[in-house]
């Protein structure tokens, strides 16, 4: 820098750096901020937790019609399921839904896959009685509003569920007819999903992730059905 000119032009000399004020400011403000955050977290934490559980339960009840309470189960290393707290998270969880009489309505299972724009996460309900998928609920999606999001709203599409067949083959260790995707109006068999015209990609992705997920989960959960029978959910 042409320091001579610069200093000659203006008499101001850069102030000497003092460490203490800097520490005081940064650390002081930082600690104050930390305290503020903690107190707000303390205050709102339980409410948020409650909200989260409610949200998940809403979804579970949505995909398991008739369920009034739910419980979370974790898949253990030896392919058994053990109860766990209802606010835990992970991809090895299933949720059991129970009706008024504490009878098992079915299981809610989470799955995800690539949709039109980004990953779609859905929760689906499985019924031991009818061996069908009862319903789905979208947990997260960035699909186009009005198109991709019709997997949540399209009546015809939702009509696929409740009767969607995922029964096991006689041997009991694989799904007899993995779920298939067909063009709108082309459905002939109970294991087929009728697509949404205009949102083919998203509906196909939904069918695909359901297939992948059911093929993996259904044989396992059916083998351990009794794990879910005792109603020891938190609520």
């Amino acid at each position: 820098m042409n320091d001579k000119n610069a200093t000659a032009n203006s008499p101001k000399i850069p102030p000497k750096i003092k460490a203490w004020p800097m520490y005081r400011a940064v650390v002081g403000v930082g600690v104050a901020c930390g305290l503020a955050i903690v107190s707000v977290f303390e205050l709102t934490g339980p409410v948020i937790q409650q909200n989260k559980i409610e949200l998940r339960q809403k979804a579970i009840f949505e995909v398991l019609p008739g369920a009034m309470t739910s419980a979370a189960f974790r898949l253990t290393g030896d392919d058994r399921f053990e109860p766990t707290s209802s606010d835990s998270e992970g991809s090895d969880l299933v949720f059991a839904g129970f009706d008024d009489d504490s009878r098992l309505v079915g299981l809610a299972i989470e799955t995800q896959g690539m949709g039109y724009q980004d990953v779609v996460r859905i929760l689906y309900g499985y019924s031991f009685e009818t061996e069908t998928i009862l319903g789905i609920s979208v947990l997260e999606s960035r699909e186009t509003p009005g198109l991709g999001d019709r997997i949540e709203t399209d009546e015809d599409f939702l009509g696929n569920f409740g009767i969607l067949d995922v029964s096991l083959s006689p041997s009991g260790n694989e799904v007899a007819h993995p779920i298939e995707f067909v063009k709108p109006g082309k459905k002939t068999d109970p294991w087929q999903i009728d697509g949404i015209s205009g949102a083919t990609i998203t509906s196909r992705a939904t069918a695909n992730m359901l297939r992948a997920s059911t093929v993996w989960w259904i044989p396992r959960v059916r083998a351990q059905r009794e794990d879910f029978e005792e109603p020891n959910g938190e609520e």
Binding site: V29, A36, T44, G45
Partner: protein, 216 residues
């Protein structure tokens, strides 16, 4: 250090009102564009985002203007950002407590209020040089201006994109929704459209003014 112009302070009302039009953060200063574009696909989201931002803006203005005396220049940005981040975290938790659905709709943009240029800009440009009272007025004015602008965008995008306003269906169920309006591109176009209107109005006004002067 810097020659100060204490002589020409604008009145409090002006301080408050300037954010509405003359220095509207969105239309004139073109600041804080990210949340403006991202969270304005419905009027409701826009309103929520506007309020959240205004809250943070107001609070950080207050705190910054009260601690401005003891923060050295070298650590100013860090300190201010700490303050802002705190308020954003607080807002984040508050919204989660109020409604998780809303939180989902606003997405990461709540957290991103931290880096909204508008807030740091006001903190640096105004609050760090002015008293608490003025900073409150400024923060409120800017916040309202920001919210108004967000609402302008949100309303247009929701009306076209969903055929509704604040969730109220406007045109019946046969209405053809304009998907593009709720897509990212729609955000750009709507803002561009508003700016066009704004420019057009300003030029028309300027022309009228010169015409009047010419006559006089």
């Amino acid at each position: 250090m810097v020659p100060n112009n204490k002589h020409a302070l604008p009145s409090g009302t002006d301080e408050f009102l300037k954010g509405f039009w003359k220095q509207n953060p969105v239309f004139v200063q073109v600041l804080g564009m990210c949340p403006v574009l991202a969270v304005s696909n419905t009027a409701e989201n826009a309103l929520a985002m506007g309020l959240a931002t205004s809250f943070v803006l107001l609070m950080s203005n207050i705190v910054v203007s009260s601690i401005r005396g003891f923060v050295p220049k070298q650590v100013r940005i860090v300190t201010f950002i700490l303050v802002i981040a705190t308020f954003v975290t607080i807002v984040d938790y508050l919204i989660q407590a109020i409604s998780l659905e809303l939180h989902k709709a606003l997405g990461a943009f709540i957290s991103l209020i931290v880096v909204n240029c508008l807030i740091l800009g006001r903190a640096e440009a105004f609050a760090s040089k002015n008293g608490v009272l003025r900073s409150i007025l400024d923060g409120l004015g800017m916040g309202v201006g920001f919210t108004i602008a967000l609402l302008c965008l949100g309303a247009v995008r929701e009306i076209f994109g969903y055929g509704s306003l604040f969730g109220l269906e406007l045109f019946g169920q046969h209405y053809q929704k304009w998907v593009v309006m709720v897509l990212p591109a729609g955000g750009f176009f709507t803002l561009a459209g508003w700016l066009l209107l704004f420019n057009w109005y300003e030029t028309a006004r300027a022309r009228r003014k010169t015409l009047k002067e010419a006559v006089a």
